[in-house]
Subunit: 423 residues, 2 copies
């Protein structure tokens, strides 16, 4: 086994340039929502080279809509295929899903980018471009892990199921489609950009829209009206109090270093029209974090109840309750027990490769891990080489060395988890 | 004199239908900003019938710009004439300006109007339409007052200067042009819609725009950013405190029944973009009331200094001070001494006509009275028949009876103030 680990390390070292080129090709395909098919074509070509059983399908909207976990603003997934490649084991071992999404968020204002967002250019040991960190670099690490196992002629006992999915950035319809299609396993790894930290827990989240009512009047006699802006201040204070209470309840040591484990963020506010008029409506949109052990429904209920309490401090809210809507995307939270063998396996392999113990933390955002664990009942760990800070930002990049390290750690974990079959 | 008062009352009674028709013609001309010339044409025709000395001119932008009091978003007043008609007295009496604006605010959403906004339709003793109350009904009262004096062959000692001005709704450039052209008098009456109350004091106002800075971050790690929305809440609280302090200073008994004599109204707020992102900027626009005794400049300074104090309670504001801009319109405040003879004259005439003492109050908004008194040094009283509550609102109307009463009160005041010349 010692010899095998060295061979894996050497093989990856020798194939770094090939890995870089694959990621460049991935990045150069601008796979924003609806445009995923070109990068999936490259994935399919790669899976074919790796001699995996390939499954390609466009998720079925009607099928997805039957699931409570489904969320999407799309009306069809036509031309947006999911791709799965299965490396069948010899039997008798644990199976593992390796899941990564190919959709990327839009580049935003191009003036903030030093290079074309889809250049894939290499500078100072980093590969640049939208999606490099989130999370095509992680996907390349997965493919490298499978490739090195194949190339070195290692026969696994358990199956490895590689999933190249769409729609993670919009709520996870791609991974949900995999679960609904019956892809299950004894564990899953998702190489989202965690700065090489291991996330056994992931914060879920939902979006909300609150409408606060007032009553218009001329600004010179503003006391004749009721300012929706002033009422919104009361609502904001109330939300801050709820955030405090929710976070006080969290005692999991994984969150000990995180100032606010499940924040409530009011992201935008808009209300009133004329400087000299009292504002009669304010709309605020935000995101509420969902703790790994929580149900989405109970979190919705808690916020709604909390807003009802406003009438205890201000009669205005009795007749003019804050309207709340749950809109847009949501991401399920996820968690795996801290003594789960997949976590131990990944941690051990990490320590072998990096020569120090991994940082194990709770993740501040949701991933498709929520769907795998909550809907698919598949124990899932999130761990990847991307740089958390540049995900969704201009000049996104990934350090090549981290991508190669992650590939090595994941290859060793796959072998440890699935087991080597007698030849 | 008793006989004369009866004749005036009778004459007005007999000419009510003519007055209604004149106001209908005024209302039917949609004299929004830039479209004042058609209603002014009717004014000119009326002044010609009244045999007044007529002055018609387009205010000169360059001349106006020399005045500190000038404010306008326009680049030219071409095709937007001011009209002045002078009834020369025989000499030896006090002169009086009768000032009214012809510009109206836009009708807004037409769905909220039961009739066409420019119908001038008569229903249940009211005349309906944009501008009926604010303030073409007041203008008709002025013209009726002059007409009855002319028709009854009364010769005045002092001059009466009727001013039909543009631009009151946008800061008073029309009246300012009258002052700059040299029109002065010993007193002035402006029949803005006061519900027949007499306003010796008028609140001035200015518009401001505040930009509050934050620092963006992902909502799941919102503690890594600084929410401009939360900082805006601090700014709103600070503004509320300033409003309190400014109003505590006001001891004038005229304001004793007014909950907030000079309010600060934050009329609109807008900030942040994405529900899952921490907002990095919030912009708020509002209106600050200016007390009659205050200078615009010192009020600006006070608000600016007050915002600087934010850094005492929150270090963030040290490096990220709130940016303040003074934009859009402003209206100068105005005041006349409570023992001024013009006020006594108007009050006495009011009591004679209405058979009860007038309500004398401070006005919650500015009018062109600020320009007449502060720039022209002309003691000015605001008093008119329009309905305060429907000014700038859909289904604006004016009760015909109030318009006729105001005409009678103003006619008597003109006679009392200017004096009757020996024939």
């Amino acid at each position: 086994m010692r010899h095998l680990k060295e061979r894996i390390h050497e093989w990856l070292n020798e194939h770094q340039q090939e890995a870089v080129q694959l990621l460049q090709r991935f990045v150069q395909e601008a796979s924003v929502q609806g445009e995923e098919k070109y990068v999936q074509a490259i994935v399919i070509e790669k899976l074919r080279q790796l001699r995996l059983e390939i499954d390609i399908w466009e998720p079925d909207m009607k099928e997805l809509q039957k699931s409570e976990a489904f969320v999407s603003a799309r009306t069809t997934f036509r031309d947006s295929p999911n791709v799965v490649g299965v490396l069948k084991g010899k039997g008798g071992g644990r199976s593992l899903i390796l899941n990564g999404h190919v959709d990327v968020v839009p580049p935003g204002d191009l003036n903030h980018w030093k290079e074309d967002p889809y250049s894939g250019v290499v500078k100072n040991g980093n590969i640049y471009g939208r999606g490099s960190t989130d999370m095509k670099g992680g996907n390349v690490a997965l493919l490298l892990a499978i490739q090195v196992i194949q190339e070195l002629g290692i026969n696994l006992k358990g199956d490895v199921i590689f999933q190249s999915v769409i729609e993670e950035e919009s709520g996870g319809a791609g991974t949900l489609a995999c679960v609904l299609k019956g892809y299950k396993a004894d564990g899953a790894i998702i190489p989202e950009p965690t700065n090489m930290k291991i996330f056994p827990n992931q914060q879920g989240s939902m979006w909300f829209r609150m409408t606060v009512h007032g009553c218009s009047a001329h600004g010179g006699t503003r006391y004749e009206g009721v300012s929706a802006i002033e009422k919104a201040v009361t609502v904001i204070k109330q939300i801050q109090q709820l955030e405090k209470e929710r976070n006080n309840r969290i005692t999991d040591p994984l969150y000990s270093r995180i100032p606010i484990p499940v924040p409530i963020n009011i992201g935008n506010i808009k209300g009133g029209t004329w400087p000299s008029s009292v504002a009669d409506e304010v709309v605020m949109e935000g995101r509420i974090g969902v703790a790994p052990h929580e149900k989405m429904k109970s979190v919705r209920q808690e916020l709604e109840n909390w807003l009802c309490k406003l009438e205890e401090q201000d009669d205005w809210f009795k007749d003019h309750p804050v309207k709340i809507e749950w809109f847009g995307a949501h991401w399920l939270p996820g968690e795996i027990e801290l003594d789960h063998p997949l976590l131990s396996s990944l941690s051990t392999c990490f320590e072998h490769v990096v020569q120090k113990p991994p940082t194990i933390e709770a993740s501040p955002w949701g991933t498709d891990g929520g769907i795998l664990s909550q809907v698919g009942d598949i124990p899932t760990v999130v761990f990847g080489p991307g740089v958390t800070e540049v995900a969704h930002f201009p000049n996104e990049y990934i350090p090549i060395q981290k991508m190669m390290e992650a590939a090595e750690i994941i290859a060793l974990t796959v072998i440890d988890w699935c087991g080597i079959a007698e030849s």
